[in-house]
């Protein structure tokens, strides 16, 4: 049982809050402070986005964050260093969110070895569907890294079954068609996607893509095991960075408290 499994086991019915931020955005120090603040403010685990030049699954907000990070020269070793620095301050699960090419170039085994050694617990690779996953998933398992797959509204029952059967950690349910980014409402089909996943696995089903407000979080927390919030965090970081050093961590901490409150309220 790694930290992800333990965390879900200890939730007592409330939904996990899983924020996403990009490593090195707006700079190394403030992204470290933001992650620590997010976890201290009540997030259950965090996804750390590794910056990539061509993030196909991401909308403009996260693309811009990746670019800000890359322009400062942040690469895989810096992401591992960030995870190590966060790990020295928390026992909560840390999940790497990365595209496949940087993993391939770093070397698959070396990637998982270094991720595990840094204190990472899981990995999400949005451009690796199950067809391309076997070697990566096997290597992840060798280093006790949960290989967390995505299911989409277009997956259909057969693929959801196959994906859920091979999942570790949790199943990431993509709420709606499209790339990451804030949306005005929660897509109506995601509840039935979560229910389909749950027919085929006992693992938690978490919902992400477009989750933007505490109201969305509360709505999702009523039927899912976790709420993933990305662009709404990244946008707050972008806004706060111009307002002085302390404000990035403060801004994301405040948002985290609102979201976590929403995750708890419904299930209590």
């Amino acid at each position: 049982m790694n930290r992800i499994d333990q965390t879900f086991a200890g939730l007592n019915g409330e939904a996990a809050l899983i924020p996403f931020v990009v490593a090195g955005d707006p700079d190394y120090g403030r992204s470290l402070d933001a992650i620590v603040a997010i976890l201290e403010a009540g997030a259950d685990m965090v996804e750390i986005g590794f910056p990539y030049s061509d993030p196909l699954a991401d909308g403009p907000v996260i693309q811009a964050a990746a670019l800000r990070s890359l322009q400062q020269g942040h690469q895989l070793p810096d992401c591992f260093r960030l995870i190590r620095d966060v790990r020295s301050k928390t026992e909560k699960p840390l999940i790497a969110f990365t595209y496949v090419n940087p993993v391939m170039q770093y070397g698959t085994e070396r990637f998982f070895r270094d991720l595990a050694a840094s204190g990472g617990d899981g990995v999400i690779i949005p451009d690796v569907p199950i067809e391309e996953a076997p070697e990566l998933a096997q290597m992840a398992s060798q280093y006790d890294i949960s290989f967390i797959p995505l299911v989409a509204p277009t997956s259909g029952e057969e693929r959801v079954r196959a994906i859920s059967a091979q999942a570790h950690g949790f199943v990431y349910c993509v709420s709606s068609l499209g790339v990451t980014g804030e949306r005005s409402s929660v897509a109506s089909g995601v509840k039935s996607l979560v229910e389909t996943v749950k027919r085929y696995t006992d693992l938690p089903a978490c919902v992400g893509f477009g989750v933007s407000t505490p109201e969305h979080a509360a709505e999702i927390a009523a039927f899912a095991d976790g709420v993933i919030v990305g662009s709404a965090y990244v946008r707050r970081i972008e806004q706060a960075q111009s307002e002085g050093d302390g404000s990035v961590a403060e801004s994301v901490a405040e948002f985290t408290r609102q979201l976590k409150n929403a995750c708890q309220r419904i299930r209590l």
Binding site: S53, D54, A57, V103, P129, E132, T154, S155, L177
Partner: protein, 405 residues
């Protein structure tokens, strides 16, 4: 030597792989659409009524077959092999791109899609997509890098005249790579009612196979024409390679004719020894771009690095996965040609043959110009003249203006 894999060339394999290359590295949201597309494509490929309709439009609408033209004066001037030009520039819209867009538009129609999207670099594929959209009554959105829109303003106007919406890609380097990213992102949002017409033998499986199939008419005709005119196969075929669709189109029907040398010409930009080139096979490493594993220009940590070429159509940091495979098994070789060499060839063909080639195609000509003296006189070389140079005249004039200042 003929290797096992070449005698019965069966790629892609069931996983969409060409050796180690290819595959489907895309968000899960697209997977069912790609699987369905593969099924539809294989069904229609075997459907005589589809083939008949395709053939009708290629003949009556695009003007096929295109001539295989003996370039007598170029041959004399170079004093080497007999040079033939496969005149894809004579297609409707001025390049080979329309072979693929007609095929994919018919595919979209037969699968009930009312809307197509496309990416474009120089604008040739965008224009070819907008053209078929107009002809078949499909709604059309073309993604084009903001930088390319500025460089190719006339093609932007042309697409809009044809009724297409042109959307600027403002991310990254604002060129073809980023336009492709934007098209894929848009497709993820509209996958249920939209067909994405990829313009080259790139992207996730089954796209490299689909585009190869719709472009192989170039090579099929070349083979027939060569046999009729010379009663033998050519000794070498030379084609420029960006993503590589004209090259794959003319190469593929010869893949098992191993006595025919296949030569892909990559854009060397300011030189492969500089950082400003687009020579993915000569200077890249295996990596993933736009859904496929292929040879890729990238930094040590796998960030994709910008490509450079005088020709917007070759200005791409990747290459079709099957070309990467051909390079790996040695079935084709890939050679670099610089901006300056291509520009010389652009003028040479214009002056000797009265044919203004696209800057892309000028790369293929330049390679033969360089190598002609080393090739035996009794050999026959076919150059794929993938497009005409009208679109490049303004750019070249601007460059000449700069040169004379």
């Amino acid at each position: 030597m003929l290797s096992e894999s070449q005698q019965s060339y069966l790629f892609p394999d069931p996983n969409g792989r060409y050796g180690q290359f290819g595959g489907r590295y895309v968000p899960e949201t697209l997977m069912n659409a790609l699987i369905q597309l593969e099924k539809d494509f294989l069904r229609l490929k075997a459907d005589p009524s589809f083939q008949e309709e395709l053939s009708y439009y290629l003949t009556q609408y695009s003007g096929r077959p295109t001539p295989l033209y003996y370039a007598e004066r170029l041959t004399e001037a170079l004093g080497g092999p007999k040079i033939y030009l496969k005149r894809e520039d004579l297609n409707h819209t001025g390049a080979h791109k329309i072979n693929n867009t007609i095929g994919q538009a018919l595919l979209a129609l037969r699968t009930g899609k009312k809307r197509i999207i496309a990416e474009t670099g120089a604008g040739q594929h965008g224009v070819a997509s907008a053209t078929v959209a107009a002809r078949f009554g499909l709604e059309c959105t073309v993604f084009m890098g903001e930088e390319d829109m500025r460089r190719q303003a006339l093609n932007v106007f042309r697409m809009r005249m044809l009724g297409a919406e042109v959307v600027p890609a403002t991310s990254g380097t604002k060129t073809l790579k980023d336009a492709t990213n934007e098209a894929i992102r848009h497709w993820v949002s509209h996958v249920e009612d939209t067909h994405y017409i990829i313009g080259s033998v790139v992207g996730p499986h089954p796209y490299p196979q689909i585009v190869r199939e719709f472009q192989r008419i170039i090579g099929d005709e070349t083979k027939q024409q060569m046999l009729a005119m010379e009663h033998r196969l050519p000794d070498a075929i030379v084609a420029c390679v960006g993503g590589g669709s004209n090259a794959m189109g003319i190469f593929f029907p010869f893949v098992e004719d191993t006595e025919v040398e296949l030569i892909g010409v990559e854009a060397a930009g300011r030189g492969v020894e500089t950082e400003e080139h687009a020579a993915s096979i000569n200077k890249g490493r295996p990596g993933v771009l736009h859904g496929a594993k292929t040879m890729l220009l990238q930094d040590p940590y796998g960030q994709v690095t910008p490509a450079h070429s005088i020709s917007a159509g070759l200005d791409y940091p990747g290459i079709g996965p099957e070309h990467a495979h051909f390079a790996e098994i040695g079935r084709a070789r890939y050679v670099p040609v610089t901006d300056a060499e291509a520009l010389d060839a652009f003028y040479l063909l214009s002056k000797l043959e009265g044919i203004i080639p696209a800057l892309e195609s000028a790369h293929a000509i330049a390679y033969v110009v360089k190598e002609a003296s080393r090739m035996p006189k009794d050999t026959r070389v076919v150059i794929c003249l993938s497009g005409r140079g009208d679109k490049d005249v303004e750019q070249v004039a601007r460059m000449e203006g700069e040169l004379s200042q």
